[in-house]
Every structure is written in structure tokens, then in C-alpha cells.
């Protein structure tokens, strides 16, 4: 675990750039293995990998813009940048970001329940129990501070997720065939562009980096870490889209959760099977982290917009709000529809376009490399 540096007294001062990036990468990776996969397979079918390659350069540019903004505007977080560069518009964009983060936390909680239901036996456990565990631990994690969340994430990611993921990928289904990727672009470029825009919007989740920018010890490392993290995500996305296509061929577009179905199809030597239950480890970790991160981001952004000194009490309000909102999206179809809408437009505009505009404004005003002189209301919240 890459630990946070310490003050002389022994207390931690923040998180490293890599810890922050790993959190974003983990949240996107779990979505990649569930909802992203779902949309890619349903819309672009066996050509989904082309969508990823089309979206990758644009996404790389967007991530570079977000990370550059975060690393060059030292001492500023998202709200501080909005307040300094856009003035009163912070009262418009700030709440918009809060709603975006709450919506993401809600949808990640709902998606967790949906995918957990595919395990079958879970049906005997009330849905509320899952949500209570997920959102409760998310609130608690956010209450303890982003440093604790980052450490938990890094530990689980490298000690559990990565070894297990490599193990499952190495096993394969023993039924893959490259020929199933043919013909390429049989349905034209329409679905490809459609999904490329969706993927690009998904990249907008990197905007959460701006919320925690002031908690990062060495912001200068954010750009490099973010770009590497994004490249890793592209590789994972390609694996998650190509793998099921190699196994299921064109019928992959009829599969609800392609990556999960591929894990279910694993059979090694006719004796190593039934590995689907291991997916729950990824789900719990990934969706817990996503809920925690965006719930915390919503609370922090709200606190900053309202000029509150601490965001903790807001967690006690926003947590139950997320819990209640989940019940407004009861079905799989609704959740997936909302997810696509949120990612394609919400994160694309607020998560990608707005940061790029902010970077352009910063550069034009010649403020990009200046250090902030924080006002009382703009004081970053570091925990």
C-alpha cells in the first residue's frame, strides 16, 4: 500500500495522486464490467472495441484537461475554481455537480442491487439489507475521511481485485475464438459513434479528481497518474468488451451482463467452474467505493457552495437521500436508461466540457500556474 506521508506528529496529511487515481479507476472499472459492457454489447455488439478505440483519444484529452487543471490550480478544488473563474455561476454549476454526484451514487447503489440479484439466492435477502450495508458503510467511510477510503481501496484493489482478475482472465472460458469478431463494422459507424460518446461521457467521472484536488499531497503528479490510470482503463475496457465477444459472438448483444456471463461460462478442464460468485467481491468493492466517493463528493461540494466548514453533517442527510432515491428506480430497465442518460449527457457536459472550459479560461487569464490565495469561503476542506 502506498501510504500517505506523515507530519511529525504522525497524523496523515492527505492522499497521494495515485491513491486518488486508483479510486477513480476502480469505480470506472466496476462500471466497465457491468453497465458499460451492457451498453457496448447491446448497441455496438461485436464492434464495441472500435467504440472504445474511437473514444480513447478524446477521453485522454479530457482526462489530461481535468488533471492539468487540478495540478496547476494548486490550493483550489472544484468549487473554488468555479467561484474564482465563473463568479456567481458557482451557484448554478455547484448544485448541478451536487445533483450529478448524488445521481451517480444512487445509480451505483441500484446497479449493485441489480447485479447482486443475478446471483439468485440473494433473492431471499431483502433488498434494503444490501442497500443498508452499502450506503451505511459508504457514509461511514466518508465520515472517517477520504484518506481511510483511499487506503481501503488501494489495499483491496491490489491484494484482492487485481490477483483475482488476473486469475479469472487467465482461465478464460476455453471457448474463445478471434473469428467471432468478424465482420467488422457490419452495422456501420452509427452504433460506434453512439457508444463512443457514451464512453467519452463516462470519462467525465474523472471530474471527481477536482473535488479532492486539495487533498492530494503532490498535485503535480496528478496529470501523469491520471493519464496512466486512463490508459489502464482503456486496456480493461477492451478486455471486458472483446472477451465476451470472443466467447458469445454476435449473441453477446443479447447478454445482459457480458463480463459476468463470461465468468459464468468459465470451465477449466471440466472441473473448475462455478466461479461466478467471485464477481460479488468486485461488485461490493467497486460499487461501495463509487457510492462512497460520489456521496462524499456531493457532501463536500454542497458544503463548499454553502460555505460550511465541515461536510460531515451533510453526509447524515445525503446518505438517507440516496437510500430513498434508489427506490425511485426499481427496475433494471429504468436504472440502465437513467445510467445512460447520466453518463452520455450529465458527465459529458459537467464532467468533461466544463473542466475543459475552465482550463481554457485559466490559461487565457494567465492564472494557470498561480498559487491560490484562498478566501475564507474558498478554503479547501482537507480530511
Amino acid at each position: 500500500m502506498t501510504g500517505a506521508r506523515r507530519r511529525q506528529g504522525g497524523s496523515a496529511v492527505g492522499i497521494t495522486a495515485w491513491q486518488l487515481v486508483w479510486m477513480v479507476v476502480t469505480t470506472l472499472a466496476i462500471e466497465d464490467a457491468t453497465v458499460i459492457d451492457h451498453f457496448l454489447a447491446h448497441v455496438a455488439g461485436i464492434d464495441s472495441w472500435v467504440s472504445i478505440l474511437v473514444a480513447a483519444p478524446m477521453g485522454l484529452l479530457g482526462v489530461w484537461a481535468i488533471a492539468t487543471l487540478a495540478s496547476r490550480r494548486r490550493g483550489f478544488d472544484l468549487v473554488a475554481i468555479l467561484r474564482n473563474d465563473l463568479g456567481w455561476l458557482v451557484y448554478l454549476l455547484g448544485p448541478a455537480f451536487v445533483l450529478l454526484f448524488i445521481a451517480d451514487a444512487t445509480l451505483s447503489s441500484r446497479t449493485f442491487v441489480l447485479v447482486a440479484k443475478t446471483l439468485g439466492e440473494e433473492a431471499y435477502v431483502p433488498e434494503g439489507a444490501f442497500l443498508l450495508l452499502l450506503i451505511g458503510t459508504a457514509m461511514w467511510g466518508a465520515w472517517l475521511g477520504i484518506e481511510v477510503v483511499a487506503r481501503v481501496n488501494t489495499a483491496v484493489l491490489w491484494l484482492v481485485d487485481v490477483p483475482l482478475g488476473i486469475f479469472l482472465a487467465a482461465l478464460g472460458t476455453n471457448h474463445e475464438s478471434l473469428v467471432r469478431l468478424l465482420p467488422i463494422l457490419a452495422n456501420g459507424w452509427g452504433p460506434i459513434w453512439d457508444m463512443a460518446m457514451f464512453m467519452l461521457g463516462k470519462t467525465g467521472e474523472f471530474v471527481v479528481i477536482l473535488v479532492y484536488a486539495t487533498a492530494v499531497e503532490v498535485p503535480a503528479k496528478l496529470t501523469r497518474a491520471s493519464l496512466w490510470g486512463f490508459c489502464l482503463l482503456i486496456v480493461m475496457a477492451l478486455g471486458h468488451s472483446v472477451g465476451p465477444a470472443l466467447t458469445f459472438g454476435q449473441s453477446v448483444s443479447d447478454v445482459t451482463w457480458p463480463s459476468y456471463s463470461q465468468i459464468r461460462a468459465i470451465e477449466f478442464g471440466r472441473f473448475l467452474q462455478n466461479l461466478a460468485v467471485t464477481a460479488v467481491i468486485f461488485w461490493i468493492h467497486g460499487f461501495w467505493l463509487e457510492t462512497t466517493l460520489f456521496l462524499d463528493a456531493a457532501a463536500r461540494t454542497t458544503a463548499k457552495v454553502l460555505g460550511m466548514r465541515s461536510h460531515r453533517k451533510l453526509l447524515l442527510v445525503l446518505g438517507p437521500v440516496v437510500f430513498g432515491l434508489v427506490y425511485l428506480i426499481p427496475t433494471e430497465a429504468q436504472a440502465l436508461s437513467e445510467r445512460r442518460l447520466l453518463d452520455t449527457w450529465g458527465f459529458l457536459i459537467l464532467g468533461l466540457v466544463v473542466p475543459i472550459l475552465l482550463l481554457v479560461i485559466s490559461v487565457l487569464r494567465g492564472r494557470a500556474s498561480r498559487t491560490a490565495t484562498p478566501s475564507r469561503r474558498g478554503t479547501p476542506l482537507i480530511r
Binding site: 446471483l119 459472438g249 456471463s261
Partner: protein
Amino acid sequence: MSRKRRGCLAVVLCLLALAPILAGCWNKYETNELLIPDGFGFDWHNGKYYAIASLYNTRAAMTPGGGAGGSAGQSSVVPETFHLTGHGTDPGQALTDMNHVSTRHILWAPSLIVLIGQAAAQHGIGAILDTLTHEPWFRPTIAVMIVHGTVRALLDTRQSGPETSVSRSLKLLEQTTHFDESAAWAPRLFDVYRIDADQGRSLLLPAFRLTGDAYPKGPPFAISDSAVLLNDRLVAWLPRSQVRMVLWMTGRFVRSTFAITCGGGAGSVDVDHASARVLPVIAGGQLKAMDVTLTARASLIKPCGTHDITTLQEAAAAAVDTEASSTIAWVKDHGYDVLGFGTDVYRASPSVWARVGQNWPGALATLPVDLRVQLTLATVGLTKS
């Protein structure tokens, strides 16, 4: 990190580690509350689906001397295996009805085979497979097989010998079909779906038939001609002798022995490595022919009349050529594309497929197939007669 925070970190990690228990598996049931199916299937009769499962009785294992496999002289009222049945107008309804027959929980996870009766297959296997794939308890690695007659009749058979139950015999046959290319190929549930989505392709499924004249210690049923399905319905039976060339041409060949004749004698070779290259010949936007190249490496089992390697190789290649030509002729005559030529055309050129695919059985009947066999006799054995 302070000590307090380290404690919090440990607690959060522990909670996350405990969380999977909520999602999991079978901890709700004790072993003796479970029924473990090994073979199950569906029949169709008088407009209704019938679900039937052969189940291991876990209580039998806990009863002293219990189970059909107990030693002579001991008897028990607790059978080692028994059947549950249910019926309904829909496969899901039949399955639910069957589940409700027993108070015990059926643990579907170890299921290896789903059998589909002849009438049900003729009615269409789509509804059955849709039901199974939407049930989270069933695995996509379950093998799908057809039964001549009814599943009920097959599961009702009893035999003595080392294999003490029908379900175990089925498991043995399932393994046979998986590893022995000469018998058939047991496609997994996801294979069936994938193939069904292929262009113009007919699905091939292995089938069982009750034999009635089995050896005393063998199961009273055997692998028979394979079932050919078109649009999820059973439409024909592919002779068992043709199956291995279908498997070879579709890339699923494992190993097989071919009889050869040369110099007035009979011999045999063992083909242990085989591959196939199937390419559509497209010129001027028209499908002209299918180019099929079969490549094999074989070992000599018994020479036929000569020890000349070249002659033996040619004889072996001729044997493969004859059988492959026969299989291609069957496909063209019947119009059921079990070889997946239509998919090959689509992958090579979707626009060409859009034209020829409209009347694929007709186009298949007149489509020239250029067959080439490249066989290498790699091992000729250690003795010389």
C-alpha cells in the same frame, strides 16, 4: 496514520470482507435439506411441458446402509436417487411446479446436462433455453442434449453395474461427448445460443436413444444420430457416421480413427491433430464456391497391404476425403447448414450474405465446394510385419 484510524481501516476491511456472505450461496440450507440434480430435462406432451429431474438424495448418504449403492443384504427406504416431475403450459411453470413437489431445496449448481425430449425439441427448444438462461441458478456451462422418445423413459431406466444411477451414466456420456469427437459434441448452453445467432446455421446437438439390448453392465441407452435443429426446432437427424467431419470442419475435432484401404488390404490411422480452413470464394460480389482445406497429422495404427509411406498417406487422405465429401453432400442435399458455411460467408462479406442468405438452403444446394485434404503420416509405429 493514527492508531484510531488504523482500527477504523481494519473494521471497514472486515465489513467488506463479510459482505459477500449476504450475497451468497447456499449457507441458508443444511446439506440434508438439499436435493442435487445431475440430469434433468423437459418433455412435451398434449400441449404441456413436463420438467423431470433425476436427483441425488443427500439424506441417503446420512442413513446407515442407505442408498441403492449399499452392500448386498442391506435395504433402505431412503433411495439414493429419485425423480421429481412438474408440468405447465410454459417451461418456467413446469420447472416451478417441479420445485414445489419437494419440501427440500434443489441445488442446481452441479447440474451438468439438460435433456430435451424429441417432441419438445420438435416443438422448439427456444422457450426451454430462455427459461434456463433467465434462471440465475443454471449455469451457461450446462450441456444441452436431445433424447429420442421421452426424457422420462430415459431417466426411468435402471441398470446394474459400476455406474449405479442413470444420472451417473448420463454424466459419463456427457464426458464422452465432450472428449470423444467420434461420438458427438455436447454444446454448452451459451454455445447453443451463439450458434443459433449465426447466419443461416443449423444447430447440431448430440442425442441419446434407448437401446434395450445393452451389455449387462452398461447403460441401456447410447449416443445416437445427432439432432439437427433449424430455428430452434428439431428438423432432421444427422447420421452418427457424419458427425466427426462436421466437428472437423467446424474446428471442434479432437481425435479419431479412420479405416483405410490400399493394395487390397485394410488398415487404419489415428488422426490426432486436425484443423480446417473454410473460405468462401467471392468474386464480383457473387459467391462462387466454398474452399475447404482439411489438414491433419496422423499415426499409423495398422498398415494396409503396403509399407510405403506415400501410399499410406494417400490412402488415409482418400479416406478422409471420402467421408468429408459424404458429409458435404448430406448438407447440400438436406439444406441444413450444420457446417456454418453461411456464417463464413457473412463474416467474409455481409453484403454478399444479405443477397444469398435470403434463400440459403437453395443457394447451398448448388454451391460448389472445393475440398482439399492435406494429411501427414507423422508416426508409422515401431514394428514391421
